[in-house]
Structures are given as C-alpha cells and as structure tokens.
Amino acid sequence: MSPPTVIKFKFRLYVAGDTQNSMQALANLRKFCQTYLADDYDIEVIDVFKEPCQTLDAGIFMTPTLVKLSPFPVLKIVGTLSQTEIILQALGLDARTE
C-alpha cells in the first residue's frame, strides 16, 4: 500500500496487432523495465490497426515504436528493442549500470 507517487518512466508502445516484431518488442520492454526500472514505470500499448488516426497524428510510421513520454525529452525508439545497451543509453541509464 504505497502512496500514489509520480511515476518516473512513462512509455507508450505502438504495436501492429500481434505481429512478431511487435510482440517481441512488448516482451523485451517488459523484461527491460522489470530488470532496470523496478516498479517506477508505466506502459501504454497502442495497436496501430485499431488507432490509425492517433498513429498518424503521432507520426509513427514504423512498428514497433516505443515512445518515452517522460522523463523529458520525448524519445522514440524503433524496433524490437532487442539490444538492451541501446535502450539504456537512450534512457541515460548506461552510467548507472557500470
């Protein structure tokens, strides 16, 4: 029963239904978050097939795309998120792991 705190990492993952790349990205993201971000994260999954207009507005053209909404700046990472190093670097967490 922890009090509602401000969550540090907010992610939005755009997936293309249950295609292989997308499912892989979701799995990789979950694994990554559990490993490095403890419980301090929030993942919102958007299916581009169901929300094409939102996808268009957001300028998402490649799937899967992970958008880091917070902390600032907003960042997009495209792909299956299979390389942990790149994600750590992108989130500015690489120094902490050493």
Partner: protein, 581 residues
C-alpha cells in the same frame, strides 16, 4: 465479377500521368491499381515525375492522391514545385495529402521493425479521402534502415500487398542507378523490380558538359510499351518526354494549301509556294542569304496575318530585324502588333532536347502557324552531336503534326563538300523542300545562286537562279548559260545588255524597212490611180468615137433619103458602097 471484361479497356486500366510523351509511350499511363517502380539516380527527376502523376490525378482524373515523403519535408517539396506553376498549395488536403514520413534525426533503432504502422495510418487516410493514387517517394531511405535482406524483402512485399489490397495505383521511387552508392542493395532492388508491374528507369548523364536526360520503361506487365530510351527534359511545366515518333497518333492531315515563300519568282519555281505544314530546309555557306530568304517567308506569313515565330541562334532578334530592313524586309511592324515573335536562342542554353522543348512551348504560347529556325544546325553544337539528329527529326515531326510550316536554315561546313552539301543533321532527307544556296565565283565576283534540290509533291524548276538582294527586296533572276557555264552578276548584266543592243538594232532595221515599203506602196498606189484615170479617158474617147460614127452614118443615110426624095431617083447603092469598106 461480371463486368470485368468490359472494364478491361485501355482507358480503365491505365492511370494517365499527364506527362507529355509518357502516356503515349505506355499507351495510357501507369497501370491502374498496380504498382510502378521508378528508379533513377540523385537528381534524375523522380520526385517531379511522381508529383506530376499525383497532381494530374487530382486535377484531371478526379483521383485523390497521397504523397509519402521519406526524404524531404512536404513543405520543402511544395515550395520546390512552386516554379512549375502547378499551384500545389491550392489543392485541398482532402485531395492531395502529404505524409511526412522522414526518419527523424533523433531516431533510435533497436532491433527489427516493420512499416505496418505507416500502412495502418495510411489506410485510414486512404479510406477517409477516397484516395486512388499514392506515391512513396524515396522508399530506399526506409528500406535501407532494415537490418537484413530478408527483412527488406519482407517489407517490400508487405507494401506491395497493401497497395494491391487497397486497389491503389502506387508509384514507388527509389534511388538506384548504375553506381554502387545507391542506398538500395542489389538484392532488394531486383526483388522490387520483380514484384512491381511496371518499372521505369530515369537516367541523367552529362555528355561534354551538356546534360542529357533519358527515360526508359523497363517492364510493363500486360501492356505494350516503347522499349527505347526516350530523351526528356524537365521544363517549366514539368516533365516532357520526347517521342521518337508520334505513337498511336493519326497521321497529320495533309493539305494542298500553298503558302508563299515571300519571293514571288521562287513561288513560281516551286509551282505555287511551299505546302502548308511542310518543312523547308535552306542550306548554304555563311552569307548566302539564308536568313534573308527565311525573313522573306516570315514577312509574307505575317502579312497574311498568321502568328509567326522566328528563332535565331546567330544574332539577337533586333539585329535580325535591322539587317533584314536593308533588303526591304520590314519585320518590326509585325513585332509591334504581336504577330511576329523573335526568339534569340543564344540565351537558351542546354541540350538540344531542352531547346526543342523551349521552342515547342514558346510556339504553343504564341500559337505560331509559321516557324523559322535560323540555323537549325545550331542544335548540333558541342555535346549534342548524338542527340541532335533525333531532335531535328522530332522537330519536323512535331511541326508537321501541329500544322506548322517550318523553315529551317542550316549552315554548311566549308569542309563538307562544296557541290551538293548534305546538311550535317541529315534533315535534308526529312525536309519536304530543300533549297540550296551557293556562291559562284566568276570573273572576280561572288554571286549567289539558288537551286531547288528537292521539293516533294510539287513540280519544280530545275534551274539555278541568281538570288538578287536589293533595297526593294529579294528576287530571283534568270541566269545565262554560255559555253556550259552559268553567267551571273556582271557577266549576266553584260550578256543582258548585249542582247538589249542587238534587239534595238533589229528593231530600227525593221522600222526602216517598213518605211521604205510604205513609200513603194504609195508610189504604186499613185500609179494605179493615174492608170485608172487614163483608162477612163480611153473609154470615154472610145464611146465618143462610136457615137460620132453612128451620127455620121445617120446623117449620111438621111442625106441619101433626102436626095432620093429630091431627085426621085435611086442612088443609094453607090453611096452605101463608099461608106462601108
């Protein structure tokens, strides 16, 4: 579907691009509802082609279109196209939609990805605006981001399937060329070529500093097409593909109408003038009055009230006008009233193809019915030798089909044989009428000689005539042949004056003869009259004589009677015997 067979005619399964020449090459345009790949190096005109295809769809075929930009921001593209006068910003976004799909500079990639997101978003847009045409400009940019060949092939296939499913006429452009620096690897590239229904290759080469652009349709499933490379230029209105021949066009209407050459005696030599919509070639060395002859033609055309265009490669329009004024050809008045348009082509640089397109555009603007190109040999200037022939052919073909009477002059190289002088462009074989001007050096003079080498479909004089330029204009003079040589200039004049003198002498002699004959006639008449009078006198005399004889006889016989009466005797017998011996 029951109506499939009906809809499968040329018009319904081709999506016209509105690109001059291209729709003719492909017999209607790009395959409708299918995918076309447009490949070419950087700056070969892919985006222009694609944009023309879309705007034509929106404006003329009522087919809304989507432009997916991978390489350039849509705003930049729109501003780039302002110079073409297509007014892209006037098209509503529900007719022409731009999707900025450039990979952002802060783009981070981790692992494999696909383009489902974009296709999903596009599908929504396609449904929303009822789009029929779509362009993926510079697809190679995205493809090259994919980690391996299998993934690339997969995405290409995905795109193709999506296009088919949505029944869109797709145009994919990709940078690829003969150079190995293209961003699409050979494998994906050949896969793309295999997959699409139509492939068009754009080429841009620079030959001796002159840019030459070519377009070639590599494949077109289920359609006939022109397989050859066709030169094209990117002009004011976008693409203009040159056709080697007017494919599928009905032969131009042939007319028997004649137009004057501007030189009365030349018309006579040609049996009435040039044919309307024919092409005339005037060859000759520098200074043989080629420009003057074409100027005379232009003046005559303007006098008939026909819009005329005079393209000069040698000098400025005003110079040409001034020079022609000296031989009595007044063109300025027609420039002033807008009938005549002088084009100084010295200022137009570029390939022969560019020149032809410029000439075509300008003449269309001017609605020219008569066109002079002075000299057409300028087309084969350095760097254009290879293409100039084709350009000259198309020039003649185009003018003919548009009903424009074309007069070209062609400079002959001093080296290329003095006697018959074929034109370097070989258009002498294509031209309908070929006039050749030559110098004849004789007795210390250079005189201009003109002959008709050929004139299709007209009887024409076989004689060489002397071309005389004077303040009053251009005229032709008969030439004299003496001892197998033609006489011109002073020698002709001498011969003419000698003949004049001989004529005068003969005339005087004849007059003299007439006078003397008149005199003789008069004498004879007088004699005839006096004889007549004499005759009358004699006749009178004769009558008188007869009458006196008769009266004497009467008197005598009366005297005898009287004597008988008086004597009562008969003595008449003796008297009668005396009087009638």
């Amino acid at each position: 579907m029951a109506n499939t067979a009906v809809t499968l005619n040329t018009t319904s399964y081709k999506a016209p691009t509105g690109i001059t020449g291209f729709d003719e090459i492909t017999d209607g345009g790009l395959p409708s509802g299918r995918t076309t790949l447009l490949v070419g190096g950087a700056g070969s005109g892919k985006t222009i082609f694609a944009m023309q295809f879309l705007t034509h769809g929106v404006r003329d075929s009522k087919e809304p279109g989507i432009f997916v930009a991978f390489e350039e921001a849509p705003k930049r593209i729109i501003s780039n196209f302002e110079s073409f006068g297509w007014k892209l910003d006037e098209l509503p976004s529900d007719q022409l939609f731009f999707l900025d799909a450039q990979p952002k500079p802060d783009f981070i990639q981790s692992g494999n990805f696909d383009i489902s997101g974009m296709l999903a978003a596009l599908e929504a847009k396609v449904k929303e605006m009822g789009a029929r045409r779509i362009v993926f400009d510079a697809l190679d940019i995205v493809i090259s981001l994919l980690p391996d060949a299998a993934a690339r092939r997969h995405e290409i296939y995905r795109l193709h399937a999506w296009l088919l499913e949505n029944e869109l006429t797709g145009l994919i452009t990709a940078k690829a060329g003969r150079d190995d620096h293209s961003s699409v690897d050979q494998q994906s590239f050949s896969f793309m070529q295999f997959m699409v229904d139509c492939a068009v290759v754009l080429n841009h080469r620079v030959i001796q500093g002159v840019s030459q652009r070519n377009l070639r349709v590599q494949k077109f499933r289920g359609s006939s097409f022109d397989e050859d490379e066709s030169p094209f230029v990117i002009g004011k209105n976008g693409f203009d593909v040159a056709l080697a021949r007017t494919l599928g066009r009905v032969d131009a209407e042939v007319t028997n109408e004649r137009v004057t050459s501007g030189v009365e005696r030349l018309d006579t030599m040609l049996g009435g003038g040039y044919y309307r919509a024919s092409s005339v070639l005037i060859t000759g060395f520098p200074g043989t009055a080629k420009t003057t002859l074409s100027g005379a033609f232009a003046e005559a055309a303007c006098e008939r009230g026909e819009p005329t265009m005079f393209v000069s490669f040698d000098s400025d329009g005003s110079e040409v006008i001034r020079n022609l004024t000296s031989v009595g050809i007044q063109l300025q008045r027609f420039v002033d009233n807008g009938l005549l348009r002088m084009i100084s082509a010295r200022t137009i640089t570029g390939s022969a193809e560019t020149l032809l397109v410029r000439i075509k555009t300008l003449s269309k603007e001017h609605k020219a019915r008569c066109l002079v190109i002075d000299p057409v040999s300028a087309l084969s200037k350095a760097g254009n030798e290879l293409t100039a022939n084709g350009v000259a052919e198309r020039l003649i073909d185009w003018s003919k089909s548009d009903g424009i009477t074309l007069v070209c002059t062609s400079l002959l190289d001093e080296m290329s044989g003095q006697t018959d002088g074929g034109s370097p462009l070989q258009i002498s074989t294509l031209a309908d009428t070929w006039l050749h001007l030559n110098y004849l050096v004789q007795a210390g003079e250079r005189n201009r000689g003109m002959s008709i080498i050929k004139s299709r479909g007209t009887s024409h004089s076989n004689q060489v005539r002397e071309l005389i330029l004077s303040d009053d204009g251009v005229t032709l003079a008969d030439i004299y042949t003496a001892g197998g040589e033609v006489l011109m200039g002073t020698m002709r004049w001498e011969k003419e004056s000698a003949e004049r003198v001989a004529n005068e002498v003969a005339e005087v002699a004849a007059q003299l003869k007439k006078v003397s004959l008149d005199a003789e006639e008069a004498v004879l008449e007088v004699r005839a009259k006096s004889l007549q009078t004499e005759l009358v006198a004699k006749q009178v005399e004769k009558t008188l004589l007869q009458r006196t004889t008769e009266s004497r006889e009467r008197e005598q016989s009366r005297g005898l009677e009287r004597m008988k009466e008086l004597r009562g005797a008969d003595i008449a017998d003796t008297a009668n015997k005396v009087d009638k011996p």
